[in-house]
């Protein structure tokens, strides 16, 4: 079941600002948000930039990829390679807490983050 939450769509950057199959960090309302351009799948994701493992602002610099039969999209923190689901934010290879994910959409070459 989907729940609809009212979000405000904030324009953040151009699609060309985010490297294909990679990420970059954006400053949104004072928060650090990691934005991922999963070009290989034509998908976009946004999560918190902070890796909960050692409290480092680094996830946007991590490599993205997928895991398992269902090809769950994930990002690996560049510091110690903790990986997190880009769909749910869940830590996939350790006991770290989940990371926050944000709604994201792309219109006319602009990336928007859904801010609750």
């Amino acid at each position: 079941m989907e729940t609809t939450v009212d979000v405000e769509w904030l324009p953040v950057c151009k699609t060309t600002d985010i490297p294909a199959d990679g990420g970059a960090c954006a400053l949104v309302e004072g928060e650090q948000v990691a934005i991922f351009n999963f070009a290989r799948r034509g998908e976009w994701y946004a999560t918190q930039n902070l890796c909960p493992h050692k409290q480092q602002m680094a996830l946007a610099r991590g490599m993205i990829g997928s895991t398992g039969e269902a090809c769950e999209p994930k990002v690996a923190c560049p510091f110690h390679k903790r990986t997190f689901s880009l769909l749910t934010g869940e830590c996939l290879n350790g006991d770290e807490c989940s990371i926050q994910t944000y709604p994201i959409k792309v219109e006319d070459g602009v990336v928007y983050i859904g801010w609750a």
Binding site: V12, C13, D17, I18, P19, A20, D21, G22, A24, C25, A26, L27, Q32, I35, F38, R40, R41, K54, Q55, Q56, M57, A58, R61, G62, M63, I64, G65, S66, T67, G68, C71, P73, K74, A76, P78, F79, K81, T83, N93, C97
Partner: protein, 834 residues
């Protein structure tokens, strides 16, 4: 939603064992209404790893499960509310806050408290115990100003506490033990002696045979007075003199308790009231209190089984253990103390490296009975299994602790010879049979998969190497061909992919994934393929920077906090005064911490990602190039000063080092490469500790290969003798290219050679005698890589599109990451600790 008609199980105590009981019961049934009382304000946390609280873990990191877990599983949890009375007649418990909770079954998991001996003065300020997170916070606060601290008790916990004091930076840390040696309950006298020597070398001051008679001080502790009249001045004291079972509630309720504490239980963990169970450190089973977590978990399993009509019983527990105490391996297993005439001991003692090993074997030499390992406990798992499964010993049992000397070592085969019922993971009670069955029946082929499947390896983690061996052994036995495939996305080894990408002229990661892989890739295969593509074509890596690890993506080394460090190339360690001034100026301008590296270069730390292009622009304008300190590539060719200045030098080692460094700079390899050139046998460049090292001889140069410093030092081996420079470089081209093409990802040359069938003799044949007929190819491939060299930083500095990627905030390029914080040290800055 709680179903009222379900029978109610009340658990008193929310520690590790109490939590584990809930988890185990819920795994079997949901036919109970579970109510938990905890005295501490926190939910159950991992006390075994408590000392990691000082190492940066937070209280949340240590939780067994978050609060939410209890809600999700319908458990009613009362925290900070101790049970004060058990009314057995009415089957109710009464809590401090006034709750009256009926029960059908009651589980006492009240644990233990620290035993505080009755020494005059224990009530003084600065005297603490080591038990809960609150205790740790108190210790931390006290340690901040203490000049000298002592731990009372030289047992396992006492030494843990001493480590905590060392870690907290207490300048003088003492351990005071009543017995004449450390850890008297676990290890023998010779083992204690070795442990003591090692710990003293680490800065601990150890006082044995000391009976503390009083604690002196005006309100606050100032000194310890001992029975022999001696005095030790300290500002703080942590008491770790053993545990005392928390049995007061049981005693009050009229349940039988032991003379020296502990709630008496039978094999079903029932107390003298059959509706009341006791588990963990508060339970007294056959006269034993078990102060380890694994038997506590086993007791939890027994009660969960009893409540669900199971028949598990507790029949005692093996107290074998292995741990790292302040960095020193300590293990004891089976019966560590058994002596003549019931056993014979084989002892190995190496005072040079601080290793002590003792095994006790049966008088007929057939069985292993127990033993002690200090300093090196690698053999622990296998030895423990040999004891527990009564495996008949080989003709030379000394091999068990010394390793096979001469002949082929056959690692891993030992694990497969264990009986099916051998307990491999004692924390989660998983047998060898269960692990092998998971491989054959459920197609589990990785340790991670095994953890998910049956929890094996999720406790202390000590059995993980055995699980790995069992998985591989079972797969081999099934006839499966085990090769080191890259990851779940590529079913090929690195060497296979190297050939495939070459033959098919593949030049991008995406094309490689489309042709030979599946899924979307991951952090393992992306940089591995990146390394292969570089090894084939040596294209500019910044063209495909999102497949690179962060260091290669930002062409700098990421450091704690997220800043980067910058290393310009200083070939052979030769640098002009003008270049030094440039480095000094740049470091000063951008506020960088500078340090000489181990490889004769200068590293500048603390650069913001957005400053990197500007920093490099200045360095490049002054004639510097990238030092590739961030890459899996040639780092540095260290040199001694050689015949130009040195009165012993035979040849010009500096010129050769510079020539070689410039020849191979920037070339990507499976792992980093280090080199050295020495001008004579005095070997000042330490060339024999490098991936390839060159030493001048009267007649030319000797070439050594596959050495390593680092965590597993290994001397390089002599590949060629007395060769001239041209031959030397030809051999180096072949050797390096052969390594680049055939090694696994992130495999250094030393490991590569160790795993090579035929070893050095084979490598010599390939490189010197061209036994594979590939030397011409190897040389041509290397020539192509050398020809395609670029300074990556020059490309970035000159390309505005590439420069743009060096920002922290894509939508605020001028803003630096505000979370990076520095603090001053010795006139420079360092990053704040994490």
């Amino acid at each position: 939603m709680v179903m009222q008609h379900l029978p109610t199980v009340v658990v008193i105590g929310n520690g590790m064992v109490g939590y584990k009981f809930c988890e185990k019961l819920l795994a079997k049934t949901s036919a109970f209404n579970l109510v938990v009382f905890g005295e501490e304000p926190r939910v159950a946390y991992d006390r075994v790893h408590l000392s990691e609280y000082f190492g940066g873990k937070t209280a949340d990191d240590l939780l067994m499960a978050p609060l939410q877990w209890y809600h999700e599983h319908g458990i009613t949890l009362h925290l900070g509310d101790a049970v004060q009375e058990i009314d057995r007649a009415h089957q109710t418990v009464h809590s401090r806050s006034g709750l009256v909770q009926p029960y059908d079954y009651l589980v006492l998991a009240t644990g233990s408290s620290a035993f505080v001996p009755d020494i005059p003065g224990v009530e003084k300020e600065g005297v603490m115990v080591y038990r809960t997170i609150e205790d740790l916070e108190e210790i931390k606060a006290c340690a901040a100003t203490a000049r000298s601290g002592a731990v009372l008790g030289g047992g396992l916990l006492g030494l843990e506490a001493a480590k905590a004091l060392l870690d907290l930076g207490v300048p003088q840390t003492h351990v005071v033990e009543f017995a004449p040696r450390l850890m008297p309950r676990q290890i023998d006298a010779a083992g204690s002696q070795m442990l003591q020597t090692k710990l003293e070398a680490l800065g601990l001051q150890i006082h044995l045979s000391k009976a503390t008679s009083s604690i002196a001080g005006e309100g606050k502790i100032e000194a310890l007075h001992f029975g022999d009249g001696s005095i030790l001045e300290v500002d703080m004291l942590v008491i770790s003199a053993g545990i005392r079972p928390r049995d007061e509630l049981a005693k009050l309720a009229g349940l039988e308790v032991g003379m020296r504490g502990g709630i008496v239980v039978n094999d079903e963990m029932q107390t003298t009231d059959p509706r009341i169970f006791a588990i963990g450190e508060c339970a007294l089973h056959s006269g034993m209190i078990y102060g380890l977590v694994a038997p506590g978990y086993d007791m939890a399993e027994v009660v969960a089984s009893q409540l669900t009509q199971g028949a598990r019983a507790f029949t005692g527990y093996d107290m074998s253990s292995k741990l790292k105490l302040i960095g020193v391996d300590v293990a004891s297993f089976g019966d560590p103390f058994i002596a003549e005439p019931h056993s014979r001991a084989i002892v190995f003692e190496d005072t040079h490296n601080g290793v002590y090993k003792r095994i006790n074997i049966s008088p007929d030499g057939k069985y292993l009975l127990g033993g002690v390992l200090i300093g090196d406990a690698e053999a622990y798992n296998m030895l423990l299994q040999t004891v527990n499964n009564k495996i008949v010993l080989p003709p030379h049992p000394e091999d068990l602790i010394l390793g096979a000397r001469g002949g082929e070592a056959n690692e891993g085969a030992g694990v497969m010879s264990l009986p099916e019922e051998a307990l491999v993971c004692s924390c989660e009670a998983v047998t060898k049979g269960a692990i092998c069955a998971a491989v054959t029946e459920l197609n589990v082929t990785s340790v991670d998969g095994m953890k998910k499947c049956n929890k094996a390896g999720t406790g202390c983690g000590g059995c993980v190497p055995m699980i790995k061996d069992l998985i591989n052994g079972t797969l081999t036995a099934q006839g499966a061909y085990i090769k080191n495939v890259l990851c779940e996305h590529f079913d090929y080894s690195r060497q296979e992919l190297f050939d495939l990408l070459k033959i098919n002229d593949i030049r991008t990661y995406d094309a490689a994934l489309d042709h030979f892989g599946k899924g979307d890739g991951c952090e393992t295969c992306k940089p591995a393929i990146g390394s292969i593509l570089s090894g084939l074509w040596n294209d500019l890596i910044v063209k495909q920077n999102t497949i690179q690890d962060t260091n290669d993506r930002y062409l700098a080394n990421i450091q704690k906090g997220g800043s980067y460090s910058v290393v310009p190339r200083i070939a052979g360690g030769e640098v002009t005064p003008e270049q030094l001034m440039v480095i000094g100026r740049v470091a000063h301008k951008y506020g960088l911490y500078t340090k000489i590296t181990g490889g004769q270069r200068i590293d500048m730390f603390g650069a913001h990602v957005s400053d990197l292009p500007d920093i490099w622009e200045e360095l490049i304008n002054a004639g510097f190039e990238s030092g590739h300190a961030y890459g899996k590539s040639l780092r540095t060719v260290k040199s001694c000063v050689g015949s130009t200045w040195c009165r012993f030098g035979l040849h010009d080692s500096v010129s050769l080092a510079i020539e070689i460094e410039n020849r191979y700079k920037g070339i990507r390899s499976p792992h980093k490469l280090k080199s050295g050139v020495s001008g004579c046998v005095r070997e000042c460049a330490e060339a024999q500790a490098k991936d390839f090292g060159i030493i001048a001889t009267e007649k030319g140069w000797n070439l050594y290969v596959c050495g390593n410093g680092g965590s597993k030092p290994q001397h390089a081996q002599l590949l060629a003798t007395d060769v001239d420079k041209e031959t030397l470089i030809k051999y180096l081209d072949r050797f390096l290219m052969f390594y680049i093409k055939t090694a696994d990802p992130l495999m250094r040359t030393a490991t590569w050679l160790n795993k090579m069938d035929g070893g050095l003799a084979y490598l010599k044949n390939v490189v010197l005698n061209d036994s594979l007929g590939i030397c011409a190819d190897l040389e041509a491939e290397m020539a192509l890589l050398i020809q395609n060299y670029h300074c990556e930083w020059k490309e970035v500095v000159e390309n505005p599109e590439l420069r743009k990627q060096f920002t922290h905030f894509v939508n605020a390029p001028k803003v630096k990451d505000p979370t990076i914080e520095f603090e001053p040290v010795r006139g420079q800055k360092v990053v704040k600790a994490w």
